[in-house]
Symmetry: C2
Subunit: 232 residues, 2 copies
Amino acid sequence: MSQALYQRIAGSLRARILSGGHPVGDVLPSENELADAYRTSRVTVRKAFQILESEGLIKPRQGKGYIVQPPRHSTFTLIFGAEAEQGAYRDLEVSIVPPELPVSRMLALGDGQLVISIRRVLERGGVPAAFDEKFIPYERGKPTVEQELEHAEFPELFAGRFATVSLRTEMSIRASSPPDYVSRALDTGEAQLLTVERLILSPEGQRIGFSREWLTGAFGPLRAVSGPPTGG
Amino acid sequence: MSQALYQRIAGSLRARILSGGHPVGDVLPSENELADAYRTSRVTVRKAFQILESEGLIKPRQGKGYIVQPPRHSTFTLIFGAEAEQGAYRDLEVSIVPPELPVSRMLALGDGQLVISIRRVLERGGVPAAFDEKFIPYERGKPTVEQELEHAEFPELFAGRFATVSLRTEMSIRASSPPDYVSRALDTGEAQLLTVERLILSPEGQRIGFSREWLTGAFGPLRAVSGPPTGG
DNA sequence: AAGTGGTCTAGACCACTTC
DNA sequence: AAGTGGTCTAGACCACTTT
């Protein structure tokens, strides 16, 4: 099971870039040069270049060549959701209520519009680790709350109304003091907690859901990574 | 400037998937079918499929076809660093000191190993927004602190010693109480702050730098997004 | 056996950059 | 004019899945 040729070419170029053999700004050997060197076709060499391009290592410039890019350490990938599965959710309350002002603003609701509110606590090892609160505009004739609750994950909650692939999520992370009912449920007193807010957007940009989570120390930190892939 | 054929094919398929025309688990038309339909070659159709694959919308299975994937809303892209440029750093202190225990642990330092400590405050509109503290193992004969300070961004600080493309960063986000010297500098009193820790790793996995940042409300929330690209 | 994706070839023409 | 990447063709053989 030897590697494909284009993989070997990509690996060889990657190694040379990462080891500093081709510093940032350098122009790599051209497609034709490499095709000759490896006794292969240009298409195969291009495939190798496209791998490195997708890794952000190089960028093509027509008429010039492939140029080694500076590393982008400002884009991080957040690992989120995996940890939440280590624990159990305890449902606190499902209700149809008039929204608080910040919620109403976030969902851009009209006057008198009610929302479905779902409150849950994540427990880990018997200790409350997070308080989770979701808000969905309430509309008669839409799937019932009971049905929706079968899906734990937020975006999937809208599967009946939208193609879930098409939904976008905007996340906002800060430290803030939770309201009383949250600090009581989490037993955290006055402490400020890591707060994660999520806004679910339809393909048309409509705000179709909003959630707030307060994470205690028991939840652990959020983690993010950047840089070249670990396997490479 | 009409779009390339493979772009049009990808766009057409993407639209059908996002609008729910091809639900999750569906098998898309085969490469040969589409090549016939668009009166083009298989290579061009493949290129279209590869775009959708890179977007995470589909996954190929040899002998079967391209299958529509469930959306992955658990991977978020953190937008970090861009906001920091809206403001000015004020240097507080550069010193060579014995590390505190947590720093020594994070960098896996031996006994007696000293570290270079760099403390800065980010001010935005005259208000302190963040406290920034970096630790680098001190070694004689390596680039001087003065030289290193010319580079503001953390990973770039190691440009002399490593090919910066090859560095990885692990980030950890939580809410915590800052030490006294931080809350004094930021004038935040007892409040817990958003805390961002970064560990810089060499290609070999060696821990070559560690940073801590405490962000006040003036810094604003961290933001992350997931879902299909905005332009698509 | 037939159909699918995975890899690869040996050309072609175009737009762009450099000399 | 020569070289570069960008797009595209019309084939080929392979490994895998389904019938």
